[in-house]
Symmetry: C2
Subunit: 551 residues, 2 copies
């Protein structure tokens, strides 16, 4: 027996239409590449998105075609998000911080037919264009005609102007009705910037995106209201800007788009001038803002909440913003494969009873599962571990906005037999369901079936005054399979006594966590974004303990 | 091209499982029929719901079977909601305030195989049982064995005890896995208590119920958080208790179930003893609470919000609770056919600029559309009217939790050609999208193509000191088709001068709104629930103006 309710597919266009009909006066404020402020109502954005469909249709773009974007957060990027998906094409948001070769590889893999690019990406476009001639037929610059730059493109690749395209599509857009289609249709394609191997594409559906918007706009997650003015600092090319554009449309909250101006001074100015109530981004951005506020003496006049995710939140931020600026900081966790939000650290009744220090420790956890995401931790044998806040294991997730396979691969191929997706993180979960990431799966040390957190050991080592930087890797071991090896770089003028360092670690961790050896090195290898390259270290030092055992 | 995300159907069991896994320690507090307080965690409720499935399966209940409930708000009713739907059977919530004959008609129409009843409904069960012998095979009393009452049932209809059923199902429940099935499957059946004709059944699907729970738990609607303790005063037999049980499971909010004790003193005691933060119900209940608080001097120590719906909220409540008790009152609107929530009166930025009197008037509006519900107003010709806050027309809605047809009828049969459902209400919508109900469609006066609100005229007439009660009906008119006729009952010892009353009305409404005649009557007819019976008045007085014209 089926229910007798109306069948309306969950489509991204329904978010835009809701905003235009019921919050038509709410606005999108955009800071352009040149710093100029532009304003448009949701009513205008919806009308322009229809004109965009008219313009793209004129170029021959059809349902299922991919449209690539190289763009900052802006009104135009929002129009592309909604217009491209609304016509059942696929919006492919490209991370412009990747190397040109990787960008080209991604564009070719996605088969993008058109590229939409902000003015600041002309050099990148010129580097990429010769490598993607087979699929890309046109580059559309996100500007009015009078700002059109010269862009060197290969023969056969057209250079177009976004505002001219919108104008060309106006007549068709006037009468356009957003089509109704299968909610499982692809809507957005976003590649992970995987640290190993080629980037992999995650292909969101309209259903997953709308359910994510609903799920993450609960009061215990993003929680946007119509009176809010939301500034997404995390880029729209980075996992849907954490779903904020969609959640804002759903709630009728106004959006304040910072463009490319993400330094502390620019953010503070925009937050105060545009009365931003909620903002979200990665820790680095907020460290920059904090530094600027402390130096300038400026305040945050309207901001009620700062949401932090993307990587573990430093304790400094969790303490400084509430105490010095009266703005609570909220920790969230997610990943590209999760649309991205999985957990949010919002209180349960028990948190009210924590003393201040326990509360600070609690806020460092990544949070509890939002409805729509289920999670568990499993040990090396794949069996689920208890939620005791102590045991840690591989974090797995499942739910309607978790990916099932990467672009080009068979549905379900990214999952295990029970439908779980392995996040690649290692975490604990406390009895109240708060998850805390302790390591990456590939970095955790598996010592005779028991796991040791490399990050916990590194943090301890770095608290020693003589240590400037520390890396803990798993080194092969004849008896325990893997044991921790600690590599340290000395602080300037502070020679390291490894025996003394080992003594300082003992007592602070279980005895069997202590590294089997400590090596002092001159330099530790890093990726372009500043992360430790543990693969390089494992290649160089992975056999150290075997050699010691043989010796 | 389809997305590559996981496919998880939206099932009611997923709400319960989420609550048990991620909010296992949150609790359901139930005030029994006898006033005793019982507590259970969501973890326990989920386990008992599985045992219930085991017990019902033992009785032969299978997917698609209907299970009727005659029950107050309680933990057991929540277990039935979730267990029955979780096994893919249909939970049929019956309004025990209807006449026994209507209850029997509904049970026969639904084809209920089992009835679950609270102890206070033994007389009703005994009255109904002889009339429903063809489908109902057992009556399950919601109590432990030691409280089992004597109930006179027809031969062949078994009398069972709920706690015994749970115990019988425990072993089967232990290993039970909630089945995964089509999210469009029927989950709950609820009959409208239509004022005309037979009750009509609305058959919610799992999909509509889960989407409703997500949509109405936005911060600008119910907005439950894990730290909330929610008391649904509106009964679970009345349109899913407005979706609150589901929203609480989703948010991990604790539930405080008042049972049958809905008088002001009982509610105040429970709200303070159980630290209720949010509650919701019809205006009558809150008038009772207000009266009790004023008389007793008690305060509301923990309550942050009172949500009012079900019928238009009196200005008294909107003013008294915030001013006297510091608790804001929020106005919402919905109906059985909408699961039920359609609109919620939460502020937009513009409301901050209203002066106090304009703000009070604003709060009397039913609110703006929740994402998931679209609405419009149409004139007599079916054309959409402008949202100017002045013009009023028939209110129509559509969306994934709006009904498409009544139980037993063809899908789509309750909709017009464009998929809109006519609510039977007449409303204005202001430019900001706030809807205000001005009349029922069948009561509005259609005067030469222009509409006049009977309710607005009645309210004006009743503000005259000599008028105890007023009714405005549409009377047939030779030129204008319909014109307003005002019937008034005089206040004790206050003879009514109709000419003077007419003069007092003029100036307060457009000239053409003034009634064509005023009749003073001794008595106005009412329904059992105290509403004016305008059908009776139209039958008696509908030709008054025609006769006057002939005379």
């Amino acid at each position: 027996m089926l229910g007798l309710m109306q069948s309306h597919p969950l489509l991204v266009s329904s978010l835009l239409v809701h905003a235009a009909r019921h919050h038509g006066e709410a606005e999108v404020v955009s800071q352009g590449v040149d710093g100029a402020i532009a304003r448009a109502s949701y009513r205008a954005v919806e009308r322009r998105a229809r004109s965009l469909v008219g313009g793209l249709s004129g170029l021959g773009i059809a349902p299922h075609d991919r449209v690539g974007t190289l763009a900052w957060n802006s009104q135009r990027h929002l129009e592309i998000y909604c217009g491209v998906q609304g016509m059942r094409a696929v919006c492919h948001t490209i991370n412009p911080r990747l190397h040109a070769e990787d960008v080209a590889w991604i564009i070719n893999h996605a088969g993008d037919r058109v590229l939409m690019a902000d003015l600041s990406f002309v050099p990148l476009v010129e580097a990429v264009a010769p490598l993607v001639g087979s699929s890309v037929q046109a580059v559309v610059m996100l500007c009015p005609p009078e700002q059109m730059p010269a862009v060197a493109l290969p023969e056969g690749m057209a250079l177009l102007c976004y505002e001219t395209l919108i104008e060309a599509g106006e007549a068709a857009g006037e009468a356009y009705q957003w089509p109704v289609f299968d909610e499982n249709s692809a809507g957005v394609l976003c590649y992970t910037s995987g640290t190993t191997g080629r980037p992999k594409g995650v292909l969101y559906s309209h259903r997953s995106t709308v359910l994510h918007a609903l799920g993450v706009n609960m009061p215990d997650a993003l929680g946007f209201r119509a009176v809010d003015r939301v500034m997404p600092v995390v880029p729209m090319f980075h996992v849907n800007a954490w779903g904020m554009p969609y959640a804002a449309l759903l709630a009728g909250a106004s959006l304040v788009m910072p463009g490319r101006h993400l330094d502390g001074a620019s953010l503070a100015r925009l937050m105060n001038a545009e009365r931003v109530t909620i903002t979200a981004g990665v820790p680095t951005v907020w460290l920059g803002l904090l530094e600027h506020l402390r130096a300038s003496g400026e305040r945050l006049d309207h901001t009620r909440r700062i949401i932090i995710g993307g990587s573990a939140c430093p304790a400094l931020l969790i303490e400084a913003f509430p105490v010095e600026y009266g703005v609570p900081v909220e920790h969230a966790w997610g990943m590209t494969e999760l649309s991205p939000i999985g957990t949010f650290n919002k209180p349960k009744p028990a948190q009210a009873a924590l003393d201040p220090e326990a509360h600070r420790q609690h806020l460092l956890k990544q949070g509890r599962a939002v409805f729509g995401v289920d999670m568990r931790i499993v040990g090396a044998d794949g069996a689920a571990l208890a939620w005791d806040g102590v045991q840690f294991g591989d974090l797995q997730v499942r739910g309607p906005w978790v990916c099932s396979a990467y672009y080009g691969e068979a549905p379900g191929s990214a999952l295990d037999g029970e439908g779980w997706f392995a996040t690649g993180d290692v975490a604990t979960i406390c009895p109240q369901g708060f998850m805390h990431i302790v390591d990456r799966s590939k970095d955790v040390i598996k010592s005779g079936g028991e796991w040791i957190s490399s990050i916990a050991l590194e943090n301890l080592a770095m608290s020693h005054p003589a240590v400037a930087e520390a890396a803990v890797i798993s080194a092969r071991h004849p008896k325990w399979d893997e044991r921790p090896l600690l590599l340290v770089r000395a602080a300037a003028g502070q020679p390291i006594d490894t025996a003394e360092l080992m003594r300082s670690l003992s007592g602070q961790v279980p005895r069997w966590w202590l590294p089997d050896a400590i090596l002092v090195v001159d330099e530790l290898p890093h990726t372009a974004t500043g992360k430790l390259q543990k693969t390089v270290l494992r290649a160089a030092y992975g056999d150290t303990l075997m050699k010691l055992a043989e010796a």
